[in-house]
Amino acid sequence: MHSLLLVLGLGLMWVLLSGHYTTLLLTLGLISCLIVWFFSQKMDLVDHEGHPLHLKPIKLIMYSAWLGVEVVKSNFDVARRIISPSLPIRPRLLTVPTSQKTELGQVIYANSITLTPGTVSINLRGREIEVHALAQAPAGALLTGDMDKRVTSIERPQPEDPRAGQR
């Protein structure tokens, strides 16, 4: 199942990137997809994390849109701090709790924090993320836990995940 999805994904990627639809080139593309699949199999890379099926698709799109708006807002905030002559920054370190059940959810949360200018996640310790913030405002926005809840809401619990509960 995972292998089929991998080959299909690779094939789609190849067709979209090449733009050639002659039989020879499609065959070559198929062969290269199969070679990549063979190597991934050898390297034991084909697993439950290889595809995004354990996220809720509609929630994921809604979250992406929300995150995009937040990133644009904080971009303007950081840009204003950079160009104002007094450089109004008050850097600080803070620790935010995570409520995600899966590793993928934690990665999405930590990456969202870093993607937003003004906050960079510098360490993941157990179930807490250490964050370096540029000033009070971005740190305060993070501490409300709004983003944390939104990331948790896109997760789909994975009962068949063999590695769950081992952390």
């Binding site: 990133v71 950079i82 160009i83 600080r92 930590a110 510098i122 370096h132």
Partner: protein, 103 residues
């Protein structure tokens, strides 16, 4: 209609350029390593996004726009990962965040 798209695309490209310049200024003005990461974040998010959006409007519906969207997705995933890798290795290598504000 073509003129309108051209104008919007030009505004996006110029805006992206402005944000990249602001990010670069921040890279120079910021006092230490970790605050510089925040300035670089401006370049790699809104700066790059606006440039890509401007190019997307120029390309219209074609395979080129799909490639631009793929570049966008790649940036969204790899950008923060690289920033986090830098921050963590700096912390690991003994760089301490300076000018910390307690509280």
């Amino acid at each position: 209609m073509m003129l309108f798209i051209d104008i919007v695309s030009a505004v996006c490209l110029i805006g992206g350029g402005v944000f990249i310049v602001i990010g670069s200024i921040g890279l120079i003005r910021m006092p230490d390593f970790f605050t510089r990461l925040h300035a670089a974040g401006v370049c790699e998010t809104l700066g790059a996004w606006l440039v890509l959006l401007g190019l997307l409007l120029q390309s219209g519906w074609s395979l080129v726009s799909i490639k631009l969207i793929m570049i966008f997705l790649l940036l969204v995933i790899t950008g923060p990962t690289a920033t986090h890798a830098l921050a963590k290795s700096a912390l690991h290598g003994g760089v301490k965040p300076k000018h910390l504000d307690q509280g």
